[in-house]
Symmetry: C2
Amino acid sequence: MIPAAALAELSSLLGDRLSTTRSVCDQHGRDESPYPAMPPDAVAFADSTDEVARIVQVCARHRVPVIPYGAGSSIEGHLLAIRGGLSLDLSRMTRIIAIDADDLTATVEAGVTREALNDALRHSGLFFPIDPGANASLGGMSATRASGTNAVRYGTMRENVLALTVVTAAGKVIHTGTRARKSSAGYDLTRAFVGSEGTLGVMTEITVRLHPQPMAVSAAVATFDSVADAVNTVIRTIQYGIPVARVEFMDIQAVRAVNAYSKLSLREAPTLLFEFHGSEAGVAEQAETVQAIAHEFGGTDFEWASRQEDRSRLWAARHKAYFASLQLQPGSTCVTTDVCVPISRLAECVTATCADIDASGILATVLGHVGDGNFHVLLLVDPADPQSRERAEAVNARIVRRALDMDGTCTGEHGVGLHKMDFMRAEHGEDALDMMRALKRAFDPLNLMNPGKIVTLD
Amino acid sequence: MIPAAALAELSSLLGDRLSTTRSVCDQHGRDESPYPAMPPDAVAFADSTDEVARIVQVCARHRVPVIPYGAGSSIEGHLLAIRGGLSLDLSRMTRIIAIDADDLTATVEAGVTREALNDALRHSGLFFPIDPGANASLGGMSATRASGTNAVRYGTMRENVLALTVVTAAGKVIHTGTRARKSSAGYDLTRAFVGSEGTLGVMTEITVRLHPQPMAVSAAVATFDSVADAVNTVIRTIQYGIPVARVEFMDIQAVRAVNAYSKLSLREAPTLLFEFHGSEAGVAEQAETVQAIAHEFGGTDFEWASRQEDRSRLWAARHKAYFASLQLQPGSTCVTTDVCVPISRLAECVTATCADIDASGILATVLGHVGDGNFHVLLLVDPADPQSRERAEAVNARIVRRALDMDGTCTGEHGVGLHKMDFMRAEHGEDALDMMRALKRAFDPLNLMNPGKIVTLD
Ligand SMILES: Cc1cc2nc3c(=O)[nH]c(=O)nc-3n(C[C@H](O)[C@H](O)[C@H](O)COP(=O)(O)OP(=O)(O)OC[C@H]3O[C@@H](n4cnc5c(N)ncnc54)[C@H](O)[C@@H]3O)c2cc1C
Ligand SMILES: Cc1cc2nc3c(=O)[nH]c(=O)nc-3n(C[C@H](O)[C@H](O)[C@H](O)COP(=O)(O)OP(=O)(O)OC[C@H]3O[C@@H](n4cnc5c(N)ncnc54)[C@H](O)[C@@H]3O)c2cc1C
C-alpha cells in the first residue's frame, strides 16, 4: 500500500500520468514469464530525468518501493511488485538526445527502444547491434545486461554502454562514465548499474556505442545430422577466430515451430543460421571458411540468403521463434532457460539437455546464441496444470546445474529477476553473494529499488 | 607502524618471506612516477591465495593497511604507503593455472606478467593482447584497468577479464564470474574489482580471454606534415570501422627520442605506426584502405614492415618510448598525462596540447593510443628543481581540463592513484563520487585496502 500522503504528492507532481487503475497496475505487475501478475499499487509515467528524481525522492521519504518499467518484455519475473509500491514507467522518455556519428556514440532517454534507435540511425551509416527478440527499451536492456544474436561479434550491453545518467535511490542525479571509449578513472559505476535490474537506481539516459553498418552482409542456413555436429561447427568457427556476426542454433522442434509460424520451409533438422559482416571480399572469405568447417561436420543444404529480403525474412522468423514456439501448443506459456557455458562444453551441454527434454516428455524448443555458448530451452507449460510448470522447472534446474558444473552461468542474458534467484548461491557462493548484498545496501540503504530481486537482504 | 603482535603473527606465517629491511620497503613504497617513496612498514611475499587470505585477516584484526603490489610499474603514485602498513607483494604467485585453448581462456595467478603469459601461449595459436609498455603483472593490470597499443581492436582489461578470485578486505576468498563469455547473473563484481587499484580487495587469480593469433600481420609507418593530419587519418580509419589492430601516434620529439634510444632512423615528423591483423587478403585490404585515407591527409613515406624482425623492432622501440623520452634529458623524471577523449575531438585536443607544451617551454614527448582517443604527454622534470615539477603539473591540469570539457576522462588507462585524485570531482561530480565512496565503504569498511587512493573517505 502506498500511503495516501505519498499518492497525493505523486498525483500533484504527475496529474493524470499517475494511475491506480486496476488494468494499468495489472499490466505493469507482470512480464512475459509464466508468473501470475503481482500488480504495483500505482503506476507513474515519467517524462524527464528531473521528474524521475522527484518521484524517487517522494517514494524514499514515504518508504514506497519503486520498480522501474521499460517495455515489459523481460521474462524472469523482474517486474512483479512483490512488495507493492510504484511502477515507474519510462516508456514515454523517448527522446534521442544525441547521435554523434563521428564518435560512433548515441545518447538516448531510457524509454527509447532498440528499433526506434535504429530507425533514427537509418541514414547515418551506423547501427546499434544489440537485439533481444523483443523490441525492448534501452533502459531495460541496460538493466538486464541484454544481448542477442549479434553479441558474438559486437558484445553485450556490458561492452556497449559507455555512460549513464542515473537517479539514485536517494533521488540524486548522477552521471557515470564519459563518451571516451575507455577510462581508468575510479570504480566502474557504469557497469555496477548495467545488469542491476532496477535494484540500485533508475537509469534515465544511456550513451551507447554505435557500429558502422557493414559494407557487405551475407547470410546462410546449414543443416546437420545431429545437434553435436551443428554445435561443433560453431565451436570450431569461434576457435578459428572468424568474426562471424551471428550464429544461431535451432533444434528440429524449433525449426518446425518457425516454419509453421513464419511460413518458411526450412529442412527439419538441427540448423545453424549464419550472418557475416565485412567488406565484399572479407564476407566471401569468412563464408567460405565456415562452409568448409560445416562440411567437415556433415553440414548440408548450405543455402545462401544473399538478397536483403530473404535475409530479413530469415531473421524476422528467428526473432519470432519465441512466439512461434508458444504456438506449437496454443494457450501455453513457457518456462525459459538461459544458460551460457564455455564454448568447449557447449556440444556436450546441448546434447545432454536435448536428451533430458526427450526423457521429460515436455514439448520444448531449443534456440541458441551459440557463438557465445548461450542457449535457451523454451519449455511449454499448460497454465491450467500446475504440475506441468513444476516438471518444466525441474528440467530448468537440471540444465542450470549442468551449466554450473561446466563453469558456466545460470543466465547468459535474461537476468535473475525472481526466477534465477535460487541458483545465485550455487553459482557465486555465499561470500560473493554477501558482496552483492553489501553493494545493494550501499546503493539502496532503504531497500526500496525493485526490492526482493537479484538478492534478498533478510 | 605495524603493531608488534601483528608483525609476529605475519612473521610466523611467512618466515623470511616477511621483510622489514629498509631497501625492500623503500622499493615497495614507490612506482615509476616522480613521487618520492613513502615506504610501507613491512613487505609480505605471498605464495598462494590461501596465504593472502591469512595475511589480510591478520591485518584486518590489527587494523594494518594492506597495499597489494604487482610489478611496481604503475605511474600515478598507486603504491605509496601514505598511511604505512604492509605491502603485499604478489610477484611470487606466478603459476599458470590453466590454458583452455578450446575456450580461448587462461587462468593465472596475479603475479604472472603479460610476457610470461604470452610465453606460455607461444605454441597454442593464441595470444593475450593487452600490452602496457612495462612487463606488468596480470593482477596489477586488472587493478588499473590497463590497456595499451592493441586495445583499439581487442579491448582493455575491462573487456578481457572474465573471472577473478579475490581476497576481500575481510580476508574471505570469493570467486567472481565464470568462464562463460557473458552472464546476467547479478551485480558485476568482476568489473567492480577491475580498476579498483587495490582499494577493494586483493585479486589472486585472474581468468582472461585469449585471442587467436592472426593468420597474417602487417605493419606500416606513415609520416605527416602536421599533428592534425596524422590524427585525422586515425579518426577517419576508426569511423570507417576498419578493424586496425594498433595505431600509435608519435610527435616529432617522441620520434627523436625513439630514434636515438632504439637506433632507428624514422623521419622526424608527426608519425603513425599501424598494425593490421587478419587473413592475408583481409590485411592487404585494410592496409590499402588506410593507406588511401593517409594519402588524403598528405601522409607520405608509407613504409611497410612486412618482415617479422622489422615489426618486432618497431614495436619494441615504441614500447621503450617512455625510457627513450627520459633519455632526452638524462637524470630527469617525468609527469605523465593520460587523457582520453571522444575520437571526433582528438585532433583538436592533441593540437591544443602541443601548442600548450610549446608555450610552456617544457621538454616533452607526445605518444598516443590514438585509435581509442587516448594519448600521453611525457613532461620531463628535473628532480632537483621543484618548480619544474610544478610547471609540468600545471600543464597536466590544463590537459585534463581540456579533455573533460570534451566529454573525456582524466585517465584512459593508467588509473587514479594519488596523481589523478584531484580531478575526480571535476570528472564525476560530487554525487557520483559519493557512490564510489559508498562502494568503498561497503567492500572495505575499515578502510584498510590501499587507503587514501581513488577516493578519500574523510
Ligand atoms: C520474445 C522475446 C525474446 C527475447 N529475446 C532476448 C534475447 O535474445 N536476448 C536478451 O538479452 N533478452 C531477450 N528477451 C528478454 C527481454 O527482451 C530483455 O530482458 C530486455 O532487456 C528487457 O527490456 P525491457 O525494456 O522490456 O525491460 P522491462 O521488462 O521493462 O524491465 C526489465 C528489468 O529492468 C528494469 N528496468 C527497466 N528499465 C529500467 C531503467 N530505465 N532503469 C533501471 N532499471 C530498469 C526493470 O525494473 C526490470 O527489473 C526476450 C524477450 C522476449 C519476450
Ligand atoms: C614504461 C611504461 C609504459 C607503460 N605503458 C602503459 C600502457 O601502455 N598502458 C597502460 O595501461 N599502462 C601503462 N603503464 C602503467 C603500468 O604498466 C600499468 O598501470 C600496469 O597495469 C601496472 O601493473 P603492475 O603489475 O606493475 O602493478 P603495480 O604497479 O604493482 O600496482 C598497480 C596498482 O594495482 C594494485 N594491485 C597490483 N596487484 C594487485 C592485485 N593482485 N590485486 C589488487 N590490486 C593490485 C596496486 O595496489 C596498485 O594500486 C606503463 C608503465 C611504464 C613504466
